[in-house]
């Protein structure tokens, strides 16, 4: 199972992320992870939230360009070398990672992965020391 990531188009403009987080906060939507891909004039904010459908609705109402992307969310032990082991395994099986971001939470580390081949990636991850989250 994959999870839904929100991808949001943002102009590189002061305060724009602030506006977005304010809107989500106002509607009680909690952000669990995010990362920003940026170019000289625009950025794409990648966001994992607790209530995906409501977040999409709320942001579309505020005229944001939003879309949903399937990504893989894994949880591995927060110890040195554990992520490396997983990535090594994926690489050996020709799975290319377009982007990823991670955050540690106590003795666990959460990693969001956007692979070139989701099905194959999921299958290979099952052989690794990690949990695949479905939120």
């Amino acid at each position: 199972m994959t999870i839904k990531q929100l991808s949001i188009f943002l102009e590189n403009k002061t305060g724009r992320i602030n506006e977005l987080t304010k809107i989500l906060g106002k509607h009680g939507i909690n952000m669990q992870a995010f990362s920003m891909a940026e170019t000289s004039d625009f950025g794409i904010l990648r966001l994992i939230v607790d209530d995906v459908e409501r977040a999409v609705e709320v942001l579309r109402n505020e005229s944001f360009a939003v879309m949903l992307t399937d990504v893989v969310h894994i949880c591995c032990p927060n110890v040195a070398g554990s992520l490396s082991e997983i990535l090594e395994h994926l690489a050996q099986n020709d799975i290319f990672i377009e982007y990823m971001y991670a955050f540690a939470d106590g003795d666990k580390a959460n990693v969001i992965i956007m692979p070139n081949d989701i099905e194959k990636c999921m299958a290979e991850l099952k052989k690794c020391t990690c949990d695949i989250n479905t939120l």
Binding site: F9, L10, E11, T39, F42, I44, R46, F64, A65
Partner: protein, 432 residues
Amino acid sequence: MIWNPNKECMSRDEMHALQSRRLQKLVNYVYHNVPFYRNKMQEMDLSPEDIKSIDDIVKLPFTTKQDLRDNYPYGLQAAPPSEIVRVHASSGTTGNPTIVGYTRKDLAVWSEVMARCLTAYGITRNDTFSVSYGYGLFTGGLGAHYGVENLGATVIPTSTGNTEKHIRLIRDLKITGIACTPSYALYLAETLDKMGLTKDDISLRIGAFGAEPWTENMRKEIEERLGLKGYNLYGLSEIMGPGVSHECECQNGSHICEDHFYPEIINPETLEQLPYGTQGELVFTTLTKEGMPVLRYRTKDLCTLMDGVCDCGRTEVRMGRIMGRSDDMLIIRGINVFPSQVESVILECNEFEPQYMLIVDRVNNLDTLQVQVELRKDFFSADVGGMLALKKRLADKLKSVLSISADVRLMEPGSIERSQGKSKRVIDNRKL
């Protein structure tokens, strides 16, 4: 339908004779009432008797926007103040505005030509018509208003402003016709969308659009989103206001109300009159105006003139699409760039909203052009590479049309300021 077939379908010989008589009368009138023209003619060693037919118009002096400014406020007015019943002013972005006084007869001519335009679009006394040009000093609102009244349709003087309320009126009063700027029509379409309504909820069938240059693609977009047929309405306050020319059902150029406004095309550099079919600067002489008549007013609008009887039956000369205005023409790295060129490229791409802004600057003695466009929500992809490719495709298209490269900036939908009147599309930060 034709409002005044006697004039609109007059034979060319009769039109020539009528224009000749009217020009002679006009030249006599301004010679004796406007010192500016008398002085100019005397300098050219020209007397009113030298004008024997409309073909002699080439002997007459030109009038420019600067002449109008220099003679602010009433220097070019020919009628005595007691005869003036209304004054309009054109928005001067720099310097003095242009003040135009109208006599009662001028207003009658104006509502006559406006009624001709509306009839050509298919408006009848059974229509309910919203005038959404600004009312006030600008000629758009009141000019269109009295045309609709003259025709006998019901006029709803909505002006610009509260757009949601306007849409409710369009829906509830079953408004069938509208006059506004094309950019305001697009704004209406967006607002309709935002209110959760579609073209099927309203009954608009005819739109008269003008007061700013627009393109075929913009027309298609407006027609599709508002569910109407859009016609060009041309005019300028120095000549009269809206109603100088209009499209007919054939939409093959705009018929000029030639018995009142005599058109010429000139080479803007040599000032020579050019033959029909050649692009140049459009020039008008107001053949019947009393308040502030003008001889050979240089509009700065670039277009061509066409003769020949139109399939609609009108014999009047037609003007082609305005290809740009020589005064909003930008010269960037020595290349002439018209915002309308950028517009037509953007309108050809589904991925962008029909909103844009050109930012011109000069960095290290090199002109730069930035084109800001809004990404349409449906075309957003979460993949940076895809977005950069989209940006590059637009940049490549612009380059092939403009011959200079532009820095494309993708903006969020709805982030470029919408205007209700003439929209501001260019910011030139160069200190020249």
